[in-house]
C-alpha cells in the first residue's frame, strides 16, 4: 500500500504570537483511511507497558567536582519496542541548576544524557499523538548516582540502574488510534469483539532522524532490568491462598460459637450482617 510522508508547515491562524512549527507526519493515504472515523472504541482499553528510569556511570579519572557522573534518563517500551507510534514527545524537567532544564525529546528513543554530581527528582512528562490523547502524563523519577552498597570505590564499568515499570492505559481509545496500533509490538491491544472490524492500516514508516526508535540494541540495553509479572503473580497467588484458608478457618470457628446456646442472649449489634 502506498504511503507518503507528509511534511506540513503549520500556521496557526488563531494567534500570531504562537510560533510556527514544522511537523513531520507519517500517514497513510489509503482509501480506507476515510472510513476510519474518530469515534471511540467502547469497552476496550489499550495498554502501553513502559519502563522509565536512569542509568548512571561514574566517570572515574575523567570526573571533575561538578561532573562526577554521566547519566541517562529515558522512557522505553517494556519489551524495548518503539514507542514512537504512541508518544509524540517527552519533556524531561531537570534540576534548575542545569542549563535549559526543560528538555524536550521529540523522537524515540526518548532519552536524555547529562553529566553532573547531584541526585534530584526528574520530572518526566509524556505527550501523546493527537489521535491518542490530548492530555499528557506526568511521572517522577529520582536520579540515583551512588550505589546502595557504599563499600569500596565506585566502578566506572558498572552503572547504577534505577528503573520503574508501569503501564499507560487508554480506557477509551479512538478508532483511529486503535486501528493504527492493532498489530504494533509495543502496544497491548485486546482482541476486538466479534463482528467489529476496522481496516488494517499499514504500519507507519519510521522517518526518525535518529534511526530506529526501538531500544532493542540500545548501547545501554545490557543494563536494562527484566520485569516479569510471573514472579509477582505467583507470590500473590500463594498469599491469597493463605489468606483464603484462614478465612475458611475463622468462618468455621465463628459458626461454632454461634451454634452454642447462651443463657440469655441480649440483642447483639455484633451480629449484624
Amino acid at each position: 500500500m502506498p504511503h507518503t510522508a507528509i511534511e506540513a508547515q503549520v500556521e496557526d491562524g488563531g494567534s500570531a504570537s504562537k510560533p510556527q512549527r514544522i511537523i513531520k507526519l507519517s500517514k497513510t493515504t489509503d482509501d480506507s483511511d476515510k472510513k476510519v472515523t474518530n469515534k471511540r472504541v467502547k469497552d476496550i482499553e489499550i495498554c502501553v507497558p513502559i519502563v522509565y528510569g536512569t542509568i548512571a556511570f561514574y566517570l572515574g579519572r575523567k570526573a571533575s567536582e561538578s561532573q562526577s557522573h554521566k547519566w541517562t534518563v529515558y522512557v522505553r517500551g517494556a519489551t524495548n519496542e518503539d514507542l514512537g507510534a504512541v508518544i509524540k514527545h517527552v519533556v524531561f524537567q531537570l534540576h534548575p541548576s542545569f542549563n535549559n532544564p526543560t528538555r524536550i525529546v521529540e523522537a524515540p528513543p526518548f532519552e536524555l544524557s547529562e553529566c553532573g554530581w547531584g541526585e534530584f527528582e526528574i520530572g518526566i512528562s509524556i505527550f501523546f499523538h493527537s489521535d491518542v490523547c490530548d492530555k499528557h502524563l506526568d511521572l517522577y523519577h529520582m536520579l540515583k548516582l551512588y550505589p546502595e552498597d557504599e563499600s569500596g570505590p565506585q566502578s566506572t564499568k558498572k552503572p547504577v540502574v534505577m528503573e520503574s515499570y508501569n503501564e499507560i492505559v487508554f480506557p477509551d481509545p479512538s478508532e483511529c488510534f486503535f486501528a493504527r496500533v492493532q498489530n504494533h509490538p509495543a502496544v497491548v491491544v485486546p482482541r476486538m469483539p466479534a463482528g467489529f472490524s476496522l481496516p488494517v492500516l499499514a504500519p507507519v514508516e519510521n522517518t526518525n532522524e535518529k534511526g530506529r526508535g526501538d531500544t532493542k540494541d540500545h548501547p545501554l540495553s545490557q543494563w536494562f532490568l527484566n520485569f516479569s509479572e510471573a514472579d509477582e503473580l505467583l507470590k500473590l497467588a500463594s498469599a491469597r491462598q493463605q489468606v483464603q484458608a484462614h478465612i475458611v478457618k475463622l468462618r468455621r470457628e465463628l459458626s461454632v460459637i454461634d451454634g452454642m446456646p447462651q443463657p440469655l442472649k441480649p440483642a447483639s449489634s455484633y451480629e449484624c450482617t
Binding site: 506540513a8 567536582e65 477509551d172 449489634s269
Partner: protein, 462 residues
C-alpha cells in the same frame, strides 16, 4: 565540593563594609527590656505590634490618697416591685458609699407582650379552635414567662402543643401589628417600624415548625446502623457527582483545538465530544445500580477512571485500593499493610500489569475480610466471657462452653503469629514477651476489645 558551589552562591564574597553595617543595626534591635535575648528571639525577635497585656498596669497599686473600706450595707433594686431590702458588701471610698441603682437591675429585661382589648379581640382575633378565655390565659402566661413557650405549655391548663401555642400567640400578635395599625399607631412608634418588626417580617409557620421538629427528633434518635447507611448513600452520591464533574472536565479540553497540531485534529476534537455524553450517562447509571457499598465504590472508581483519557496502571490501582478500604479506619489499613508485608508481598507491585494489579486488589480485599472476621471472633469471645463474669456464671454448662471458646481463641492466636497477623496490638506484645508453659495462667486473657472487663480464670467461677 565547595560549599558555595552546592548552594549556588556567587564565588566572590560579599563586600566587607556591608557586613559590618548590618551587624550594629541588628544589635540595637536586640535590646528588649525585661526578657533575655533568647526568649525574645523565640517570640519572633520583633517587638509586638499591640501589647497583649499592659505590664505596667499589673503592678499598679491604688492611689494612696484614697481611703478604702468595705462595709456591709443594705440596698434596694429598681428591678423589684416590692420594697425588699437586702444587704451586701460595698466598697466605700473615703467614707462615701457608691451611688446609683443596684448594678444588676439593668439586666431585668422583659418581653413586650402586646395585650389586646376586648374590642380588638372581637374584631380580629376570634378563632374556632381557641376560646377567648384560653387566649387570655395564653397571653397572661406569655407575659409572665417572657415567651418561654416550653414553660407556658407546661402551665397551660388545657393540653396544647408548644407549636399550637406559638402559632396562636404569634399569629395573634402579627395580626394585631399588621391589621390593626390604626390602633397600634398610638402604641407602636410608626408604621415603618412596625413593618420592620420581626414578627411582621418573618411570620410563624406552624406546619414548617412541626415538620422541622419532627425531622430533628428523627435525626437525633437515629441508630448507629442508620447513620452508617446514610453516610454510605451520601458518599456514593458524592462520588457520582464527582465522576460527572470529571466527565465534564474531560470534555472541555476536547473542544479547543490544540494549537501545535495541524487541521487534522480538528475533526478529532469534535468527534469525542459527541460520544462523551452517552458514556457519561452510562457510567453514573452503572454506579447507582449495585446495592452494596463496596461494589458501588468499585464501580464509581472505574467510572471515574474511564472518564480520564489516560492514566497509569499504578494510579488506577491506588484509586481502587482507596475505594476498597474507604470503610476501614487508619488502623485497619495499617494492619492490612502489615499483613501484606508479612506475606512477602510488595505494598506497591513491582510489575504492575493488569493481572498483577487485579490480584493485588483482590488480596487486599481478602485481607480486609480476614481482619473483619477476626474482629467478629473477638467480639464473640468477649460476649462469651462477659456472661461468665456476670450472674450467669452460675450455670456450669455454659461456663464450660465459653471456656472452650476461650481455649479455641488461645490455640488460634499462635497460628496467626506464623504470619504475624494479630487481632489487637496489645496481644501481640504480650504473646511475644511471654512464651512458655506458664502462658495460660499468666497472660491477661482478654483480647484488646474487651479490656474493660478482664476475664479471670478462677476455679471458683465454675
Amino acid at each position: 565540593m565547595d560549599a558555595k558551589d552546592i548552594l549556588g552562591l556567587p564565588k566572590t564574597p560579599l563586600p566587607i563594609p556591608q557586613e559590618k553595617k548590618s551587624r550594629p543595626q541588628k544589635d540595637s534591635q536586640r535590646k528588649p527590656d525585661g526578657i533575655s535575648r533568647e526568649v525574645y528571639a523565640l517570640t519572633g525577635g520583633v517587638a509586638p505590634l499591640m501589647p497583649s497585656i499592659d505590664v505596667s498596669q499589673l503592678k499598679r497599686r491604688p492611689p494612696s490618697d484614697e481611703k478604702i473600706t468595705w462595709q456591709w450595707l443594705p440596698f434596694t433594686s429598681s428591678a423589684r416591685k416590692d420594697d425588699l431590702q437586702l444587704y451586701h458588701w460595698v466598697r466605700v471610698v473615703n467614707g462615701v458609699p457608691p451611688t446609683g441603682d443596684y448594678s444588676f437591675a439593668k439586666y431585668n429585661k422583659s418581653v413586650d407582650v402586646i395585650r389586646y382589648t376586648d374590642e380588638e379581640y372581637e374584631k380580629y382575633l376570634t378563632d374556632p379552635k381557641w376560646t377567648k378565655e384560653e387566649t387570655d390565659q395564653l397571653f397572661d402566661l406569655c407575659e409572665r414567662f417572657d415567651l418561654r413557650f416550653i414553660i407556658i405549655a407546661d402551665r397551660f391548663p388545657t393540653h396544647r402543643t408548644v407549636e399550637e401555642l406559638k402559632d396562636r400567640y404569634y399569629s395573634g400578635t402579627h395580626y394585631l401589628y399588621v391589621v390593626s395599625r390604626a390602633i397600634l399607631v398610638a402604641r407602636a412608634p410608626s408604621p415603618g417600624e412596625v413593618a420592620g418588626h420581626p414578627l411582621v417580617k418573618e411570620p410563624y409557620n406552624v406546619t414548617q415548625e412541626t415538620e422541622r421538629k419532627r425531622a430533628l427528633s428523627m435525626v437525633l434518635s437515629q441508630t448507629k446502623h442508620q447513620e452508617r447507611k446514610d453516610a454510605e448513600v451520601l458518599a456514593e452520591a458524592k462520588r457520582i457527582a464527582e465522576s460527572r464533574m470529571a466527565a465534564r472536565a474531560a470534555e472541555e479540553p476536547d473542544l479547543p483545538v490544540p494549537s501545535d497540531v495541524g487541521p487534522e485534529s480538528a475533526e478529532g476534537a469534535v468527534g469525542p465530544g459527541d460520544t462523551i455524553s452517552p458514556s457519561n450517562v452510562q457510567a453514573p447509571a452503572a454506579a447507582i445500580a449495585p446495592s452494596t457499598s463496596v461494589i458501588a465504590d468499585n464501580a464509581s472508581t472505574l467510572a471515574s477512571l474511564r472518564m480520564l483519557r489516560v492514566y497509569l496502571r499504578t494510579y488506577a490501582l491506588e484509586q481502587m485500593v482507596q475505594a476498597a478500604s474507604s470503610s476501614a479506619g487508619l488502623r485497619t489499613i495499617k494492619r492490612v499493610e502489615q499483613t501484606l508485608q508479612d506475606l512477602g508481598v510488595n505494598l506497591k507491585p513491582k510489575v504492575p500489569t493488569k493481572a498483577v494489579c487485579a490480584e493485588h486488589l483482590e488480596l487486599r480485599k481478602e485481607i480486609l475480610t480476614l481482619l473483619n472476621l477476626q474482629k467478629q471472633l473477638q467480639y464473640k469471645e468477649a460476649e462469651g466471657s462477659s456472661f461468665r463474669d456476670g450472674s450467669y456464671g452460675d450455670m456450669p454448662g455454659t461456663a464450660k462452653r465459653s471456656q472452650r471458646a476461650a481455649d479455641q481463641d488461645r490455640t488460634f492466636v499462635p497460628d496467626t503469629i506464623s504470619f504475624g497477623v494479630i487481632p489487637g496490638d496489645r496481644v501481640v506484645k504480650r504473646e511475644q514477651k511471654r512464651k512458655g508453659p506458664g502462658r495460660t495462667s499468666e497472660t491477661p486473657s482478654s483480647p484488646a476489645g474487651a479490656h474493660k472487663r478482664p476475664r479471670k480464670m478462677k476455679a471458683s467461677d465454675l
